[in-house]
Subunit: 331 residues, 2 copies
């Protein structure tokens, strides 16, 4: 491995000068600069980031901690977010360390601990569970943190959310306006803020039209394809006329049930799903969905993070991005 010393020797200057040439951190005479550039090229020198990090206490790396569940199909939503983050980061010369909490609190804490020893300059985290407010204690790391997607209760910090309440509210309201009244609601496990808020939106829309909220029309379960299938079945048997499904995986399960039992969409059942991916277009009719700006979440979150890293002391910001109802033909 060729080090800064080798370059200094070859260029007949001090290591300090080489360093300053590389980082443009003090004036160096043109002639000297050229010698250094030449030496670097000749030796094919690459500065060692680890050493640089150790000394300067800056790694140009940020961590991302997401809660993915299963092996394959689980959560495209977070992958889209990761994509947005990666893009902004690259534009700013930062690297991304990706980590997965598996939607499990213990794993999450462990991963945060790993990050604490790792010298990251900042962390973007989609917290496992809205209930646990132990983040501040855990995050003793002296790096800034931006929370995304879920709002951990009692945590102070920058946070980027999607307006979940309004997302499902608009969806359900659209169903109501079309004349549907027996509207079933399928959601992943309640207790995390996203699910809870989407349920609130559902209730609010009904209430506004003075339609009673019926417990038996609200179905909750782990966010899997199979559960989506099962809960759609139950609601179909309960003779709902429309279905609002509050996440993408369960949306697929529900559609699968309807197809398999030749329930006509939208004649027999209208349906609105959650999240917008290309595959929402390949059902017949194409699915109407509430679209979350996943890529945007990542982008906004990391922009905020970079601001903090660069020393911003503004008070904590809570950005609320809009969800959007994408009308296709399914209701």
């Amino acid at each position: 491995m060729v080090s800064i010393k080798d370059v200094a020797k070859k260029a007949q200057v001090s290591t300090a000068t080489v360093s300053h040439v590389i980082n443009e951190t003090r004036f160096v005479a043109d002639e000297t600069k050229q010698k250094v550039y030449l030496a670097m090229k000749d030796l094919n020198y690459q500065p060692n980031r680890i050493a640089r990090s150790l000394r300067s206490r800056k790694s140009n790396t940020i961590g991302l901690l997401v809660p993915l569940v299963a092996e394959d199909t689980s959560n495209f939503f977070f992958m889209s977010i990761a994509n947005g983050i990666e893009k902004v980061l690259k534009e700013n010369g930062y690297n991304l360390i990706l980590s997965n909490s598996n939607e499990d609190e213990v794993t999450e804490k462990n991963q945060i601990r790993v990050f604490n020893t790792q010298l990251i300059d900042g962390l973007v985290i989609a917290p496992v569970n809205g209930e646990d407010s132990a983040y501040n204690k855990e995050l003793t790391g002296d790096y800034p943190v931006v929370y995304i997607d879920r709002h951990p209760s009692g945590v102070e910090g920058d946070i980027v959310l999607v307006d979940n309440l309004r997302g499902s509210y608009e969806g359900v309201r659209a169903l109501l306006n079309k004349g549907y009244e027996r509207i079933g609601f399928i959601t992943g496990t309640l207790g995390i803020t996203t699910s809870d808020e989407r349920l609130k939106g559902y209730k609010q829309a009904l209430k506004e039209k003075a339609i009673p909220v019926r417990k038996e029309f609200i179905k909750e379960g782990p966010a899997t394809f199979e559960q989506g299938y099962q809960l759609a079945k139950e609601l179909h048997e309960a003779e709902v006329t429309a279905l609002f499904v509050a996440n993408n995986v369960m949306t697929m399960g529900a559609v699968s049930y309807l197809n398999e039992h030749q329930v006509k969409i939208p004649e027999e059942i209208g349906i609105i799903g959650y999240d917008d991916y290309d595959w929402m277009k390949i059902t017949s009719p194409p699915l109407s969905v509430v679209r979350q700006p996943a890529f945007e979440i990542g982008k906004v979150a990391v922009e905020q993070l970079l601001k903090r890293i660069n020393g911003s002391k503004e008070k904590f910001a809570e950005v609320m991005l809009d969800a959007e109802l994408v009308q296709r033909g399914s209701f």
Copy 2:
């Protein structure tokens, strides 16, 4: 920040002892150990990985470089691979740095250079383009490399592939056995090994049944939803009776076209897509596909990489994983 010195002082031992307690790298008396543990806990000490890496020339981090294209829907296949990698890595106490070449050669080289300065212990890469064999020169890093998914020509190294030829061969053969003869083939841009091999499989299956390969039945274009849609249109107009689509994004586009124009599947057109995700089940009828073991690719690749990192000097291995035809109702 609390350092090993602080711990040493508090525990009244030398830093060497602390280090050895942490790493279990030489015998330390039980009593001493306890003192050290206590001190570490009291001070909430976390070893600094950066310093450790600098000294020991080992980062416990591996890099992953994948070619993702668009913003959202692009490539779930690589995300699944990333998932597999992440899992194995975590089990082994390693971290993952994720990077994206955007399917662009220049970006790829830059990212590799970044990795070179980064002290990663190994790299998993899905190379951008099978043609360019400059990897060896570029990868001057002294870490092991495992290639996945695509075979860069003229590169020596460990590699994990899927049997693409056989995958499409089996698919097309199944179509032929069902009696389809006018079989259209839709593929992403040719010139990368995966596409080329899938095309070969198509041709081979036809040849075996003595069915002439007709140029006008083979459609190539960038792997996008829109292209899939467009090429399906062209083939439909060319009156094919079946469609084999060689990647997941174009599969969605093709299905979308067929739905939109009420082309009955499989009565008017049989179809087999590529890659197996839950959303292949929500068309009616559910789609038959060639399934690639994405998660497995990641797993196998990183296992091989870890072997190398741990000093394995076996000669380079080329692992070829099987693709599998998943029969549903679309042909």
